[in-house]
């Protein structure tokens, strides 16, 4: 589903190279965990996948279902099924969460040539999704992410993911700032979405999240490259011994 080939990317503003020859393949139905120390390029990778303009791809390619996505803008990528759950979701003052959900869902439907959702159908879907994440409907009347706690913001991200039904879900440090209860709710939300035709790229610092969202593969990112790949036992190994060993091996 996702194939990253020898990807090199730098920050447009100052030319700093962040991704340096990254290779990664994620199959449909797979949950791939990306781990790595601070500054290894994990968040940058998620931004580049979503099409953020602050980064420039200088070499290599990103293939999604066999097609290069480098020429697509963020909205086109989203419509094609790529979803990024942000580490720091943005506040959108004055735009009720419910309204935002409606616009996003209908814009994606429009891009796919579908009719906009009828209001009752829309409400039904939102109610169900919110209930599964233990979210209060009253919260959805508030402007998106404005004054939301860290946990509420992350839940709102998963709510959007559920409703938009993407095919490639990128979760950028979704566990940061979550207490154990919230972590469980969010993880359950993600697990419920696991499907044979859907892939996940779970970016995280800690093994903790992977106890709840059990990955099929684990990849260690360091200095903009995948330096080691393995199964879920690799995450446990990293937790026990730190990154130093793996980094030493690669060097």
């Amino acid at each position: 589903m996702l194939e990253i080939r020898n990807l090199h990317a730098r920050i447009v503003d100052d030319g700093t190279e962040i991704i340096r020859g990254l290779n990664l393949t994620v199959k449909a139905g797979e949950v791939a965990a990306i781990m790595g120390p601070n500054g290894s390029g994990k968040s940058t990778l998620s931004y580049i996948l979503a099409g953020r303009e602050d980064y420039e791809v200088t070499e290599g390619d990103i293939l999604y279902n066999g097609q290069s996505i480098l020429e697509m803008d963020p909205a086109e990528r989203a419509t094609s099924g790529i979803f990024l759950a942000f580490q720091y979701p943005m506040e959108i003052p004055g735009v009720a969460t419910m309204e935002f959900l409606k616009v996003a869902m209908n814009e994606q439907r429009k891009a796919r040539g579908q009719e906009p959702l009828k209001i009752p159908e829309f409400l039904k879907r939102v109610k169900e999704a919110a209930a599964s994440l233990s979210m209060d409907m009253a919260m959805l009347k508030r402007p998106l992410n404005v004054g939301f706690s860290g946990g509420e913001k992350k839940r709102a991200e998963i709510l959007q993911m559920k409703l938009l039904e993407p095919k490639l879900c990128v979760l950028d440090e979704t566990d940061s700032g979550l207490d154990i209860d919230a972590l469980k709710i969010v993880s359950d939300g993600v697990n419920a979405l696991r499907a044979p035709d859907r892939a996940f790229l779970v970016i995280t610092h800690y093994q903790r999240l992977l106890e709840h969202i059990v990955p099929d593969s684990v990849h260690v990112l360091y200095r903009g490259q995948v330096i080691k790949s393995g199964d879920k036992s690799l995450a446990l190994d990293l937790e026990a011994n730190g990154y130093a060993g793996v980094i030493g091996e690669a060097a």
């Binding site: 979503a50 099409g51 953020r52 303009e53 602050d54 480098l70 020429e71 803008d73 963020p74 909205a75 990528r77 989203a78 419509t79 979803f83 990024l84 942000f86 979701p89 943005m90 506040e91 959108i92 003052p93 004055g94 735009v95 935002f100 616009v103 996003a104 814009e107 994606q108 891009a111 009828k118 209001i119 402007p143 959007q160 938009l164």
Partner: protein, 505 residues
Amino acid sequence: MPAVQDTIDRVRKIDVDQYKYGFQTEIAVDKAPKGLSEDIIRFISAKKDEPSWMLEWRLEAYRRWLTLEEPTWARVNYPKIDFQDIYYYAAPKSTPGPTSLSDVDPEILKVYEKLGIPLKEQEILAGVQKTDASDLEEPSDNVYKSGRVAVDAVFDSVSVVTTFKKELAQAGVIFCSISEAIREHPELVQKYLGSVVPTSDNFYATLNSAVFTDGSFVFVPKGVRCPMELSTYFRMNEKNTGQFERTLIIAEEGAYVSYLEGCTAPQRDENQLHAAVVELVALDDAEIKYSTVQNWYPGDAEGKGGIYNFVTKRGDCRGHRSKISWTQVETGSAITWKYPSCILRGDDSSGEFYSIAVSNGYQQVDSGTKMIHLGKNTSSRIISKGIAAGFSQNTYRGQVSAHRKATNARNFTNCDSLLIGDQCGAHTVPYMEAKNSTAQFEHEATTSKISEDQKFYVMQRGIPEEEAIALIVNGFVKDVIQQLPMEFAVEAQKLIGISLEGSVG
């Protein structure tokens, strides 16, 4: 990505003038000779069959105007206007004045139809009976279809038709063109005209007093709540013509009226002048709500053409406990110079100003309000949202003052500016003066930029760039949109979206 961007830019340039109302209509017109002189004023006055007191009033204003200088304090730049190069009177030939609908030139009716303003009362009535559930979900494209709104349509210099007059008359409400009011209700016009904006007020108001050609007149008698929204729709069609309309609204003791003004003009390379005067008078316990959706032609992508909008709007809370509320959505005009104000004369009176000013391309906006607190326990509230995109300049200019006798005057001001891109400017020029120690004035101001983070976040949900910007902007202006009559709020939101098209990329 550069290749894609290039294509988008090219396509956008082909369709750069996205102004939807830029068509022009070929109609036989009756014009005064170009230029301004006492003879032209006599000509206008004679065309309108005015009484001699009105002509004298105009001539006095004209003589005064000759002694005045064009103001230069606003933050706007434009080549000097040649006031002798303008037609001051243009009227569609077949309509010497307001007539019944059947007498109106069908070409003009077509124009209003094109603009989405049905003048046929039965159409509007038909709209009321429509209670189809699907309408509740998807607000109609055309607000005029969805409610009962009486319309006064002004085409260049004359009012061509006013709807619902009979029904309003039953409630005692007078709603007609100002020309008709001068002939039919001279005592009211003489009593109130110029009592809020005197003929000597300022350069443009004085010019308007000399040459105003038409506009609307509303009189709501004591204790009457006007049974429907009133609306005037201005259309500037003729080339090189100035539009100088004059609107006068009077709400007697305990009366209430909500009034909406809308405007468009054809797309032209030359600039056109629009210098209107609006006067509102609210007596004891009366309330006037005045909303404007201004969408004059703003000029093309290079800043060529467009309307010069120099408008004086003022409301006088003359009675105790009276209330005047201005709500404006400004998206058009090449230059906007406009400060709808309230004089809070009556004790316990209150004034409000809610404004959204959107500028794009090379538009220049200098707009704001004045709240003059004269009475005791008067309060005022100002919420201004300026949005600047492209190469535009957007200035909020406001004055709040409390007179020595204005005990317990209260004001709250909030001015927020939003910048889109890095070639535009937003400026806030507040002026506050309290001569009474019990006055309490609060002022808040913010300037922000739509951040790349916000835009990226919204787009990541599948919302295309321009829709993403419109969504963020509509969130920003929400406080003000809520003040508009409900049907118009939808139109205003769409209009803001359209005005910002081409602001990115």
